[in-house]
Assembly symmetry: C2
DNA sequence: TTAAGCAAGCGAACTTTTTCACAAAATAAA
DNA sequence: TTTATTTTGTGAAAAAGTTCGCTTGCTTAA
C-alpha cells in the first residue's frame, strides 16, 4: 500500500469495479479474481490489482477477492457510506431532469433544492423539491445542509454561479456548462461537457478509420538501448 | 504534420480551442498566440501547438494564428460543417431534456426522432420531435437519414438498444447508461457516465487533501540511467 | 507434510501524454 | 540590409499511466 496521490483515472475505475461487485454480490458470487473481473470489461487484470493496491491488500493469494469484503472496502473508499445533499442551480430542462435522475435518487445523493432566478419558477416544485431564488443560495445551503452543487445554467452565467457556490462553502461541484471555469482553493470541480462529447462523435464521422480508441496504425516501438 | 492516429485527448482539446476561437472572433480579434490561448484555460502553450501540428501548419511564426483561419480549419477537422441528425432512444426525463438541449440545437446536430417502447408515449411529441416505437427504429432511421444515436434508457436495456442501433447502420453513439457496453466493428461509442462523476465527487469529499487533480505530494522522479 | 496450482502484489519495463527548450521563420525596427 | 523580437514547430526529456513477469503466499490434494 502506497501513500501517493491517487489519479482520477484510478478512482473512476473503482466506481466501475464497485458496480460490477454489486452485480456479482446480487448473483451470489463469493469470490472473484482480478482476471475474471478484467474479462468483464476489457481491462487488464494487473491494472485492477494495482488500482486496489493503492488502498490496501484486499485480496487473498490463490483465492482472489471476497466479493462482499471488497465491495465494502470500495464503498468506504469512495465515500458512499455518507449521505450527500445536492443543490441544482438552474431549473431548466436539464436541471429538472437531473432532479429525479435515477443515479441521484438511487445512490446516497439526495437533491434537496433547486435554484433559479426566474420569478415564474421560484416557489414551484419539481417532484418534492422546491425551487428557490438563487439570491438566497447561501442561506438555503446552510439550512438544508447541502454539500454538493450542480451547475445547470447557461454557459455565460456559470462562472458567477460557481463563485456563489464557492462563497457558500461548498467543496464539490458538478458543472454541465460548456465553459472552462476557474476554481479557487481546494474545490473539486467535475465538468461534464456534452458539447465536447458530441464534437468527438462529429470528428469520428468526419475522419473514417479513427475507430474506438483503437489505433489503426500501430506506432513503431522505441526500443530503449542500453550498453 | 504527422500521420499518426490522433488521441481523443487531443480532439477533445480541439473542441475547447474552437470554442475559444469563436469567442475571440466575436470580439474581433484578428490573431492569437498559443501563449495567450493557453492562458485562457490553464493549459501549456506547447500542447496547443502540438495538438494543432498534427493537422497542419496553421500558425505564422512571429505572429501567431489567424483567428478566422484557425477557426475554419478546426471546424473542418471536427467535421462541424456537415449536418448530423440525431435519434434519442428513451423518452424519459433525460431523453426529453436532451431533445432540446442547447448544445444540440445550437450546433450542427438536429434531434430528428425520439424512441420509446411505452405505448403511452409513442405518437406524442416533445417540441417538434415525434416519439416513435422503438420497434420501428431501423426504418425511421433510414427514412429520416439519422446518423447519430443517443442511448437514454435504463442500464439494463442499454446493450440491447446498442445492438439495434448497430444493426441500423449507425456509426456514432452517445451513451448515458451507466454500464460498460460491448461494441462491434468500427463504431464510435462515447459514454457519459454521471454515476462515475458523482462518485468521484463523493471520493473527494471523503478524502480531504485530494484537490482538483493537483498533487499534494510530488512523486519522486525515477531517473532513467543510461551508460 | 509435502507438492501442485492458483492468484495477489509489486518492481521494472514499456507506452502514452505532457512539458521543455531551442532552431527556424516571419515581422518590425534600425 | 542587418538586427532584434516574436512565436511557431518540433525533437527530446520528463511525467503519468499501463502492462509484464516474477515472487510470494494461500489453498487443496495426495
Amino acid at each position: 500500500m502506497k501513500v501517493e496521490k491517487i489519479s482520477e483515472l484510478t478512482t473512476n475505475r473503482l466506481s466501475v469495479y464497485l458496480r460490477c461487485l454489486n452485480e456479482l454480490a446480487a448473483q451470489g458470487a463469493k469470490t472473484i479474481s482480478s482476471d475474471k473481473l478484467a474479462a468483464q470489461f476489457h481491462l487488464n487484470s494487473a491494472q485492477i490489482r494495482k488500482d486496489l493496491a493503492y488502498f490496501g491488500e484486499f485480496g487473498v493469494r490463490g483465492v482472489g477477492y471476497y466479493v462482499e469484503n471488497l465491495r465494502d472496502h470500495l464503498t468506504k473508499i469512495l465515500g458512499l457510506t455518507k449521505e450527500h445533499r445536492v443543490a441544482i442551480i438552474g431549473a431548466g430542462r436539464l436541471g429538472t431532469a437531473l432532479t429525479d435522475y435515477y443515479g441521484f435518487t438511487q445512490s446516497n445523493f439526495t437533491v434537496s433544492a433547486l435554484f433559479d432566478s426566474d420569478p415564474e419558477k421560484i416557489g414551484q416544485k419539481v417532484g418534492e423539491v422546491e425551487i428557490f431564488d438563487v439570491k438566497n443560495f447561501a442561506s438555503v445551503v446552510k439550512k438544508a445542509n447541502i454539500d454538493v452543487a450542480v451547475i445547470a445554467v447557461p454557459a455565460r452565467f456559470a462562472q458567477a454561479v460557481l463563485e456563489q457556490i464557492t462563497k457558500a462553502g461548498i467543496k464539490a461541484v458538478m458543472n454541465f456548462a460548456p465553459v472552462p471555469l476557474r476554481v479557487e482553493g481546494d474545490i473539486k470541480l467535475k465538468t461534464v461537457d456534452l458539447t465536447i462529447s458530441l464534437e468527438s462523435l462529429s470528428y469520428f464521422l468526419a475522419s473514417p478509420g479513427n475507430a474506438n480508441g483503437k489505433n489503426t496504425k500501430p506506432m513503431q516501438t522505441k526500443k530503449r538501448n542500453k550498453t
